[in-house]
Symmetry: C2
Subunit: 343 residues, 2 copies
DNA sequence: ACGGATATCCAAAGCGCTTTGGGAGGAATC
DNA sequence: GATTCCTCCCAAAGCGCTTTGGATATCCGT
């Protein structure tokens, strides 16, 4: 059924060498010949045998990923979404994933083993922290890698894809300020993660520019579950001087926050404004909230796919991808934001 | 650095054939010789090249998995945990995973493509429903597979690993009845999933045996998030004739249920008893609840690992695993169950 | 018209493993 | 003592691809 190189070459009256070269984009093959080859590939449905390629090239055609299994990271709703993007893209190119579950304390060993195993051509890194030691480690491993997110305080000389968290929350905060809000609360992700730090920074910057400051009593850091959103919001509402607006680092957090707000009998977009970061989780669309949510939006799945593309492109030496990408999140205004209530 | 078969054979003064046979457990090799080979492997750290093995044997050494990306299934907290078990075990044997994200409507195509690609030696199936059509399909694909869970209404002639959901909830219900409870509520997983159906069945059976019945007003089916646990519990509590006990299909659901109960000012284990099914999620231990939870316990991660073991064993034709396994969940009594309150 | 580029193509040698098809030597059989 | 049968081992042929090291033919300027 399935043809191989040899048969394809025979069929074309060419040598395996030439066919191989034609397929792999070598220059020393006639343009017309290449077209013939490509045509034959289409007709026969020829697909190179990956095992043979691996053996001949020494490439693994797979990318390694250390799957964090620490409490509160694994099983994270966002993880699955990102993974889906990554996997979807990888599968298109017939690349495999090597998932290595690992507790944080074993991560270094796991990375080293993975890099040394020859089973992966590249590694991928996520859940960046400030001054993340894993970057230096990966650099020393002499294996290509791409980071999702970026560290803080490290030199920037490593490949990453991140969204501009600072700007996202800066923009969101500025909008709230323009609407007259002065007391704004923040329900953020885990304190040690870089994106949380940046989002807070963006918020602080916008506040500072308008002579406002952030009341630390109105800041909560936690895992990104709706439960935590709820628990974080409640004390804010009971505060002697409650906020008139709140920023959430995820629509999942917002889910809980909204519940707490409803329960307090307040009206969203009216009594209190809310902006959440939207990772575009298919199960949780901000427009489907009882009051549609104003969000800063950036697709997590798209990020996964893009990282896969870059990793694969790097391995195959195809295309030329920027080493560093910073995606801008879109600020999308819906009904959950409104002018600050008059006292 | 890394030795290969040839070098290893030379070192031992044997042929590649013999060394290969010794390693792969062929009978026609002297026991003593085999020991020498094994010893040499230990000393040199020899690891066979997977690409070469793949090429020579035609085996892929990887197992395929269609990752459901439907709303409410993907990103499920439980999915990551199961995946971790699967991956952990696979990595030990140097097996890869091929994750294929797919929407339910594309699943069949995805399975077929995967099976035909030659990239996987076996498939794995989860989230079983009643009369699940995927089983017949997989059987027709002539590729080994193992099912996590089991269907209902199908003949049982396929390999699966499941927990005895019926017994688990039967046992739990019986305990509650013995404690004097008569009105018991159920917060279950999605209605179409086989495990939900079986758990309800187990509950019904125990009730029936004691001349009790289930009030459908006290049954909720939903995604297994704490949010849904909360939302499901609330109406129960507001019922004219509220339950004195409740069964939850997951500790995640219990999280929300507990919150609703607390909020209603009731005391768990006293005013109302609660038993939850515990998948042994590392982030959510039943003993850490404010009132430690009585649970039916069965580790999801262990199930993942076991399935990987069986799949890999089957591919390598090593070991002899039962085709069908039904794990019994343990009923562990903690403080959330107590005698029914006297009226 | 001729040496030297230049453009195209090919034969063959691996990559590291498994597996086929023996072969040597000693034990068992008749 | 000749034949058969095990036991244990080996040489060599792939698996399907990439890549090295030429070949051959065409084309150029002089």
């Amino acid at each position: 059924m399935a043809v191989n190189l040899k048969q394809l070459a025979e069929l074309l009256g060419l040598s395996q060498t030439t066919v191989s070269r034609a397929l792999n984009g070598f220059p020393e093959v006639n343009a017309e010949t290449r077209q013939r080859v490509l045509q034959a590939v289409r007709e026969t449905g020829y697909r190179p045998n990956r095992a043979a390629q691996r053996l001949a090239t020494g490439k693994a055609y797979s990318i390694g990923m250390v799957m964090p299994i620490a409490p509160g990271i694994d099983s994270d709703v966002h993880f699955g979404e990102f993974l889906a993007g990554l996997a979807e893209e990888a599968v298109k190119h017939d690349f495999h994933f090597v998932l290595n579950p690992s507790a944080p304390e074993d991560e270094e060993v796991t990375f080293r083993r993975l890099a040394a195993s020859g089973n992966v051509d590249a590694l991928f890194l996520a859940y960046m922290r400030a001054n993340d030691p894993r970057i230096a480690m990966l650099k020393s491993l002499s294996i290509p890698f791409v980071v999702h997110g970026r560290s803080i305080g490290e030199s920037r000389d490593y490949p990453f894809l991140d969204i501009d968290n600072t700007s996202a929350f800066y923009d969101a905060t500025r909008l709230l300020i323009q609407l007259g809000h002065q007391r704004i609360a923040l329900i953020n992700g885990p304190e040690y993660l870089a994106f949380s730090i940046r989002r807070k920074k963006g918020m602080l910057r916008a506040l500072a520019e308008h002579g406002l400051s952030l009341d630390e009593a109105l800041v909560q850091h936690s895992l990104m579950t709706d439960e935590h959103g709820y628990r974080s919001m409640q004390p804010f509402l009971q505060h002697a001087n409650p906020p008139t607006a709140v920023l959430c680092s995820s629509t999942v957090l917002a889910l809980g926050a909204v519940r707490a707000i409803n329960q307090a009998g307040l009206k969203i977009g009216d009594d209190i404004s809310l902006i959440a970061h939207d990772d575009v989780l298919p199960m949780l669309k901000p427009e489907n909230f009882s009051v549609p949510l104003t969000t800063t939006r950036s697709s997590l799945r798209a990020a996964g796919a893009r990282i896969a593309t870059r990793l694969i492109g790097g391995i195959l030496k195809r295309g030329d991808y920027p080493e560093q990408e910073l995606w801008r999140a879109e600020l999308i205004v819906r009904a959950s934001t409104g002018p600050a209530p008059q006292k």
